[in-house]
């Protein structure tokens, strides 16, 4: 989930450009002509109803969906000297066997290191430090299946920090977090923003989006709006976004 490309630290995250992206699975149109630009270093939130294509947009960005149109990452740097940076991905949840005799460190080792996980965690990668950043210090030896939902979500955040990401893609990270976890998440978001990391954040908690995001896009199969959160998250727009007839509203809202 993290670790795509070399782990070199750079000053700024990439810009992301979605240009007329279509995604059709079977006969179902998931995304239609989605054009969206994410600025480097932005905290860009994507909101929308369930089934609106938010997670599919992320899958397309990660190269896991048969999309049409162009998705481009513009990495800073002079002519590809450094090449693509590190992309981290935090999924909504992980499916796994709770009885699995797997510690938190093992779980991180499976996701983050090149060395086979059965040879043990690679100490140089700083799993303890990453766990400390998400408030899980000293819990590296706990069995992963025995963690609570909120703790598991924190571990998923921790794996995204190794190695330090240039782009972090978050798929509803706050769903399972408890209150303390939300505070930690906010701190983390601030740290990542300070480091210049681009953040693409799928979220349904509009209050949090309004508070933390620098830009927000409404997505329900089509892109319904895109702009700074205070203006965009007006009651009318939000009602339109989550209404049962988004297609008829789409034209009116886009104008």
């Amino acid at each position: 989930m993290s670790g795509m490309g070399p782990s070199g630290r750079r000053a700024n995250g990439p810009a992301i450009l979605f240009d007329r992206v279509d995604l059709t699975l079977g006969r179902t149109a998931i995304l239609e002509q989605v054009s969206l630009a994410v600025a480097p270093g932005a905290v860009h939130a994507v909101v929308g109803p369930n089934g609106g294509g938010k997670s599919s947009l992320i899958r397309a960005l990660l190269g896991q969906a048969p999309h049409r149109g162009t998705i481009r990452l513009d990495w800073p740097g002079d002519g590809g000297r450094e090449g693509p940076g590190t992309i981290a991905y935090v999924p909504q949840a992980v499916e796994f066997d709770r009885g699995l005799p797997l510690t938190v460190e093992d779980f991180l080792a499976v996701l983050c290191q090149r060395r086979p996980a059965f040879l043990g965690p690679d100490r140089r990668l700083g799993y303890g430090e990453a766990l400390a950043r998400v408030g899980m210090a000293g819990k590296g030896r706990r069995r992963f299946g025995a963690l609570s939902g909120g703790e598991r979500q924190r571990v998923l955040l921790a794996q995204a920090l190794i190695p330090a990401p240039d782009l972090i893609v978050l798929d509803e990270p706050m769903t399972a977090l408890d209150e303390a976890g939300v505070a930690i998440f906010e701190t983390l978001l601030a740290e990542l923003t300070a480091a210049g990391t681009t953040i693409l954040w799928v979220e349904h908690d509009l209050a949090q989006v309004r508070r933390l995001a620098t830009r927000v896009s409404g997505l329900n199969r089509r892109l319904l709006f895109d702009g700074p959160p205070p203006e965009m998250l007006s009651p009318e727009r939000v009602l339109g976004l989550f209404s049962a007839a988004p297609r008829t509203m789409a034209g009116a809202l886009a104008s």
Binding site: L61, L62, Q64, P66, R72, L73, W75, P76, E82, P84
Partner: protein, 203 residues
Amino acid sequence: MHHQIVHRAGAERETLWVLLAAGLILATATAAVGLRPAPEAEAALAPHQIDSRTALTAAEQGLHADLKMAAYEIAAEIAALRPADGTSNGRAPSPAELAAQALPPFAADASAAARGGHVWTLAEAGGTVAYAGLSADPGIAGSLVLLLDRQDDGHGDRHGDGHGPGIWLKRAAEAPPARLDEASLAAAGWKRITSTFTAGVTR
């Protein structure tokens, strides 16, 4: 600025590479086959030759097969009749002697009559022994000449194509010319029966 395009998930590029590889293999195979054709298996027959498999009548085919076997018998008999001191070669058995041994096609039996009723004569000239069979019915089987070399025990191949003794055919009730060599026979319109091996031969 480094632009990274996110490619769509799918097997298009793998498919393309597989198709390219398949095309390359096909093109290579086609080129190899085209540039290195198998040599023409069928050797053209000379004007004085006739193919034993396709050009003979049924009676002629039988006579040809019998003559090929008889050539070995005759050669063995010549060797047996050779004087013990080895000063001269053996005498060639006459057709009457061969008929007495019931050696086809010299034996005067029902099948000889059915195959054209050939009358066999012996002609010796120099080192060559020739048995000439004059056909009574060229429509069934033409006249035949069996050419043998006295020195070669019947195994040699002074007469041609590597397939045994020389057997010549002319579809006429006509005695062979006085000189029984290949040039004279060919000049008189006789044709040598030859076996050619082509791709169609399965046995």
